[in-house]
């Protein structure tokens, strides 16, 4: 199978969906992949730096017969649009009693680890999980990036695609053609029997590397990638923990009210899964600081393979 980078896979997803359905349009201050060349300036709109306007325009255009993709670019840029995200996008279908659908896709890049410092480094998807009303995808591989983004664009609800920037250059096999990954389905990326590691975004590949290393020590690690945060595939997570009895969650965000916190809660509040636990749940998360600039500090602030391995060993001791 041919290999694409994560970013190429995302661009391919958008291009395929725009070819398939002329109602798909995209708005952003700038674009990767040069879609305006194929689709023209009516459907590919270079916009002023107006995230609030763009976010709401996505809703207005979506209810008026189009399927907009609004790209906030860096996730930190969309915070100025919190009214349109929280008070409008996440509530709009319900508060109007289901009168209309809003098939809009919001895209953004997340994560740190590249020296971009506090206001250009963040993994805030748990804030969106909390809202209800928004679906959320968090692809960790190029194939999942293509498949999930295509599904998101076809979903008739507002979906937010959090695209990990540290994965942009990572290559992987990507099926050609209409490759769709359904929302709400987690994937066991590596099968194992001693401990479940639920990993998010960049840390899926990091956890797989740790699993490979620990196999040499006789520890069998199962790595599960939720892929979609809302709706969360709770059953797959619980089934894995019932099998292994141990859970480590790796999330680039700080631990408080993180996706890791939510995953821990939904796993242990199930009676059968709780009874299967042989050790307390471990979370490997970022430090509770804005992501710092200097490499020594940034590395200290974010999860790494050593800490993932350490957490796994703690569940086994």
């Amino acid at each position: 199978m041919r290999e694409l980078t994560y970013l190429q896979a995302l661009d391919e997803a958008v291009a395929e969906e725009m070819r398939r359905d002329e109602r798909v349009i995209t708005l952003a201050t700038d674009f990767t992949g040069n879609p305006v060349k194929e689709f023209g300036p009516k459907r590919v709109r270079f916009s002023p730096i107006s995230e609030s306007a763009l976010t709401g325009m996505g809703l207005g255009a979506a209810t008026s017969g189009y399927r907009p993709i609004v790209n906030w670019r860096m996730v930190t840029f969309c915070f100025v649009a919190m009214d349109q995200i929280v008070n409008q996008a996440s509530k709009i279908r319900y508060m109007f009693g289901g009168q209309a659908d809003f098939p809009v896709t919001y895209r953004c890049s997340t994560g740190g680890g590249m020296g971009l410092a506090a206001q250009h480094s963040q993994s805030p998807y748990s804030m969106w999980m909390h809202l209800a009303g928004l679906k959320i995808i968090l692809p960790a591989t190029p194939a999942d990036a293509k498949g999930l983004l295509k599904s998101a664009i076809r979903d008739n609800n507002p979906v937010v695609s959090f695209e990990c920037s540290r994965l942009n250059g990572v290559s992987g096999p990507v099926p050609e053609g209409d490759h769709l990954v359904p929302l709400g389905v987690a994937e066991v990326k590596r099968s194992g029997s001693d401990v479940t590691v639920v990993a998010l975004a960049f840390y899926v590949q990091e956890s797989l590397a740790v699993a490979e290393a620990l196999a040499g020590e006789g520890v069998s690690v199962e790595v599960v990638d939720p892929r979609t945060l809302v709706p969360l595939d709770v059953e797959t997570l619980r089934a894995s923990v019932r099998k292994t009895g141990r859970l480590v969650i790796v999330d680039e965000a700080p631990a408080t009210c993180s996706a890791a916190a939510e995953i821990a809660a939904v796993v242990v509040e199930d009676a059968a899964t709780f009874r299967a636990l042989r050790a307390p749940v471990q979370r490997v998360c970022a430090a509770p600081v804005p992501v710092p600039y200097s490499p020594t500090l940034e590395q200290a602030a974010l999860p790494d393979r050593e800490r993932i391995a350490g957490a796994i060993r703690r569940t086994l001791s």
Binding site: R45, S47, G56, M57, G60, Q84, N87, Q88, Q99, A100
Partner: protein, 322 residues
Amino acid sequence: MQSETPDFVAMLEQMILIREFDERALELRKAGKIYGTVHPYVGQEAVAVGVCANLTPDDRVTSTHRGHGHCIAKGADVKRMMAELFGRVDGYCKGKGGSMHIADFSIGMLGANGIVGGGLPIATGAALAAQLDGKGRVAVCFFGDGAVSEGEFHEALNISGVWKLPIVFVCENNQYAANNAVAVQHPHVDLATHAAPYGMPGITVDGNDVLAVHEATRSAVGRARAGEGPTLMECKTYRWYFHAMRHAPPPETRPAAEIAQWKARDPIARFKTDLETRGLIDNATLAAIERRVATRLQEAVAFAEASPFPDPKDLLVDMYAG
């Protein structure tokens, strides 16, 4: 309505219906029969009616927390509006929205919005859709003088101007944003001055003269339909009552003389006089209008009271589309 000469008598009836609907909503709220807040539109009827008389169901509007008038003027069913205020299943939003989320998407009324400025980006998106459709449709955005202070106003006007979107921005300057007078909120109280920097004409209109509103809107909508881009219309008007009430009406803080001055320019009284002068109505017509409006409201309340409350088992319904 698309005809060159609008149906003046129908417009008058619609203005009266809007006023009586909100007067009734205030009574119902005081009696505890409806919940939450009521933001009365009384006094501003000429704006909603004058603007919407230029629109078809294919044109889309967004509204504000003070949205009952826009909803009625756009053609909504007052029975379903009333049922929504009563929180019943036959309300437009199945009881899930209430007064501030009154909407009828089937006729292009994309909702009252509880956030000041919240509707501007949404209307701008509807305008983008209209531009892409290429069928001459327009979007209209209602907002108040308060929203002109919000970032969303500036973002929406800027992008509409640069993309020449088919949208009419209707600023209902009722002289107050909640309890703050327009002069303490803005360096220039003539808000139409915001238009030029955003690449569109700015018109100031007597918002209490329904025919002036109608005429100004006709030309703005005409520009938009012809692909000439957006317009900012500032309609100077006044709300007779307070910003909002919950259990009880709050004390009036505005000067009595100011209120009296604006009431003397009652848009409904002025229009009645105008139509009488033109020989289009007489006492009999007026009496018939008032009877019809009273009957419609009576039926609306009866419809609402007969509709059941939503079942809590339906709490999670309508979160997501299939």
